[in-house]
């Protein structure tokens, strides 16, 4: 069986599974799986760039995705009235001051000679800077959060078309990746893992607590959409007529149509990124990255700048995750910092990359769809399984209730098992690297 045929079959099987969901459950859930599958594929593509091309181990995907979500809010939401006047300048000043403090500390570090005076000077600069930063930020943040806290209480966004947020989300993620890459790359591979794990937790903590920025756990809802609202479609006579012509009632037709539009947008982004990733893979740059991955010492001896290339690919991969994060927040229409869980946003993506086939872009896309499908469908399957197992037990027994209640936790178990089995028996994944 040749490669192309096998790949077509694999994708065909996933398509059939999604169609099956459409027939048995509802077309709405089937389309939702496709849309989220596309977003997952993009994230997996980004991680594949880091892991598959360059062997970098990033466990902070959640943080980069969340930064993308932040971009959707900062670009798409309308500005809060009076918010900027109340504390905008204070916030900007504080942020500039914070950045300036760090730059000053770095300069002191570079200019002064090694020794105790330097250490003390750096610490002094950082402490003074920190207090000035807090002194400027806190009152400004307080004033902003006082503005109609039930509705806004945050700065709001720029009110630009939300599609602009997608590349901006990528930029945000790239910025964070730069900071991490600068410090942790070049050390042991595990250190990068731990540093990324940390930055992800911190980004989520900032989103949860800085109310002036994201309303914190009060969530930002109603992020503008690049596609029409279902209600507007239902009120438009032309749409209702067209839906009726295809045999849909207006409500169902409008929800499906909106999903189709999202899918078209996401698919466009995926195709562009996929094309770019494929070109990168087959370019001299891609060959160099793989050479570095397979033998760092040899590549360095050939005059390749290992650290710079690692930094480059780490930033690029994280930026792709940021784009995907902005897309996801756009589709959800809300930013809910409380829902960012590492198991869902970091490790699931890893399962996708490993299962699909690390080092192969097509594999990442396949993994994205397959694992997302499993993630969504394992819960009903687990419930069904539990009902089957417990069918012989007495009605109302404590064990039966407990088992059925716990079926929701089957997801984690299944994903862990899938990851371990693939790593053990088919470590190159479903579509191996060529």
């Amino acid at each position: 069986m040749n490669g192309t045929l096998k790949n077509t079959m694999l994708f065909g099987i996933i398509a059939l599974m999604i169609i099956y969901v459409g027939l048995v459950q509802s077309w709405n859930s089937a389309l939702l799986i496709v849309a989220m599958g596309l977003i997952s594929s993009i994230m997996a593509l980004g991680v594949n760039l880091q892991w598959g091309f360059a062997g970098l181990f990033n466990v902070g995907i959640m943080g980069f995705v969340a930064l993308g979500g932040l971009a959707a809010v900062l670009i798409g939401m309308p500005p809060t009235e009076g918010g900027f006047a109340a504390g905008g300048m204070g916030i900007i000043g504080a942020l500039l001051l914070g950045a300036g403090t760090i730059l000053a500390a770095i300069q002191v570090m570079k200019r002064m000679d090694h020794g105790w005076p330097r250490t003390i000077a750096v610490i002094a600069v950082l402490i003074i800077g920190f207090f000035l930063f807090r002194g400027l930020l806190d009152p400004a943040a307080e004033r902003i959060e006082e503005i109609n806290p039930a509705q806004t209480g945050y700065l709001g966004g720029l009110g630009l078309p939300v599609l602009i947020a997608w590349p901006v989300g990528g930029l945000f993620a790239a910025g964070a990746a730069w900071v991490i890459g600068k410090t942790a790359l070049g050390l042991r591979s595990d250190y990068l893992a731990i540093a990324t794990l940390g930055i992800a937790e911190i980004i989520i903590a900032v989103l949860k607590n800085e109310d002036w920025l994201t309303r914190g756990v009060k969530n930002v809802i109603g992020v503008p959409r690049p596609v029409p609202f279902e209600v507007d479609l239902q009120n438009s006579a032309a749409f209702v007529e067209r839906a009726a012509g295809l045999g849909f009632d207006p409500v169902e037709g409008s929800t499906l149509w909106v999903k189709v539009l999202y899918i078209a947008l996401f698919a466009t982004v995926l195709l562009i990124l996929m094309w770019m990733a494929q070109r990168a893979l087959h370019s001299p740059w891609g060959r160099m990255l793989r050479a570095i991955r397979d033998n760092e010492v040899a590549a360095e001896a050939m005059g390749k700048d290992v650290k710079a290339r690692h930094l480059q690919v780490f930033i690029l991969g994280s930026a792709i995750c940021g784009v995907a994060g902005a897309m996801m927040t756009t589709m959800d229409g809300q930013l809910t910092p409380g829902t960012y869980q590492p198991l869902r946003f970091t490790f699931l993506i890893w399962v996708m990359v490993i299962v699909g086939g690390s080092g192969n872009n097509l594999g990442s896309v396949l993994g994205g769809f397959l694992i997302w499908f499993l993630w969504v469908q394992v819960e009903p399957m687990g419930l069904w399984l539990m009902n089957l197992i417990t069918s012989g037990m007495a009605e109302g027994s404590a064990l039966k209730d407990h088992l059925i209640e716990s079926a929701a936790h089957m997801r984690l178990l299944t994903m862990g098992m899938v990851l371990l089995l693939v790593l053990r028996f088919s470590p190159r994944g479903l579509i191996p690297e060529k």
């Binding site: 062997g55 181990f57 466990v59 920190f130 807090r134 410090t183 942790a184 050390l187 042991r188 591979s189 595990d190 250190y191 893992a193 731990i194 540093a195 794990l197 940390g198 930055i199 937790e201 911190i202 903590a205 949860k208 607590n209 590492p342 198991l343 490790f347 890893w350 490993i354 209640e405 716990s406 936790h409 089957m410 997801r411 984690l412 178990l413 299944t414 994903m415 862990g416 098992m417 990851l419 371990l420 790593l423 053990r424 470590p427």
Partner: protein, 336 residues
């Protein structure tokens, strides 16, 4: 008098919680550092190993409580702890036999083992939630306080009370005993010496006839004991909630790296460095400063450097600083 009040407030809110938390982190970091030294990978499943060991202990504690067994003023969990450790040892040896050993024999790259340990994290987390559910579980019983704030105030006549919880006392005492036992084992026994030899130089250890599988087995047994003890102590002191153990992973790793990965002494020092930095930076110092400052200079705000929600950021920043300036850690760790 004011000075004394400030001191008591400091002890009550910063020092005692810091020591207890530091002991818990140190025990966790010891487990991470041992796996790193012997098996040579960063074990991401350590947090969830703690959760599973603690869960086993919680279940056995409930069983004992239902039988009416108790330790009087001490929590019943202490009685259940050995059984929890046994369960955890069984689980880790099973995992090693069917998962890690395959990669060890293949001499897989460390990063592959890290990914495998991620898969294990998933499974352990799923098992924990499956058995006990994702919610808070209370398994503490016995006397709550060794010194309660009210009694302390009454007997000393000070404004500030010092409370010393039983769990804090148990944490500190247990940690001291465990650390002494561990170091005695590593330095004095044959098995411990073979472990250190294996950690220092694998090839040389193999040449001198050390059985690697035995070393690995002993390591997992110790790691399981440490993880369970740390998990139970944390659960007693705060509360048992499966998800919090995953979040402990960051401070634990930070502690292990700050001290120098692979170095047990460093893990303990790192645990206290991280714990005290977290507590001092996220504590609202107003309560202490009120007594120290003259009346007109009293702070108006809380004098809190960072809100407690950012405690992860503290361990992270310390981690970054150490990685930037001393990648092998404060005590010399294994490698860069």
């Amino acid at each position: 008098m004011d000075l004394l009040n400030a001191l008591i407030a400091f002890l009550n809110y910063v020092f005692v919680p810091g020591v207890a938390y530091g002991s818990q982190l140190a025990l966790g970091a010891l487990g991470v550092t041992l796996v790193y030294g012997i098996l040579r990978f960063s074990n991401f499943a350590h947090g969830d190993t703690m959760a599973l060991g603690a869960m086993a202990t919680v279940l056995i504690t409930w069983l004992f409580q239902s039988w009416g067994i108790s330790l009087g003023p001490l929590p019943t969990a202490l009685l259940a702890l050995p059984f929890g450790i046994l369960a955890c040892i069984g689980l880790l040896l099973f995992t090693d036999r069917y998962v890690y050993r395959f990669y060890r024999e293949k001499k897989a790259k460390p990063v592959i083992l890290v990914i495998v340990s991620l898969g294990i994290t998933f499974i352990y987390n799923g098992v924990t939630r499956f058995i006990i559910g994702p919610d808070d579980q209370n398994f503490f019983d016995g006397e709550r306080f060794i010194i309660s704030a009210r009694e302390f105030k009454r007997s000393t006549g000070l404004e500030e009370g010092l409370s010393f919880k039983t769990t804090q006392g148990i944490t500190i005492i247990t940690a001291v005993i465990v650390v002494i036992a561990l170091f005695w084992f590593l330095n004095k026994t044959r098995a411990g010496k073979s472990m250190r030899a294996y950690s220092d130089n694998e090839d040389l250890a193999l040449l001198s006839g050390i059985n690697p599988e035995r070393v690995v087995m002993i390591t997992w047994i110790i790691v399981a004991s440490l993880a369970t003890i740390a998990g139970v102590l944390y659960g007693l002191d705060k509360s048992f909630k499966p998800f919090t153990y995953f979040q402990l992973l960051l401070p634990i790793f930070a502690a292990a790296i700050v001290g120098g990965l692979g170095n047990p002494l460093g893990a303990i020092a790192g645990g206290f460095v991280i714990a005290f930095s977290e507590v001092t930076i996220t504590y609202a110092w107003k309560k202490v400063l009120v007594y120290l400052m003259p009346e007109n200079l009293e702070p108006s705000g809380l004098v809190q450097l960072l809100s407690t929600d950012y405690k992860f950021a503290v361990s992270f920043v310390i981690l970054l600083i150490v990685l930037l300036f001393k990648p092998t850690g404060l005590f010399k760790g294994q490698s860069v």
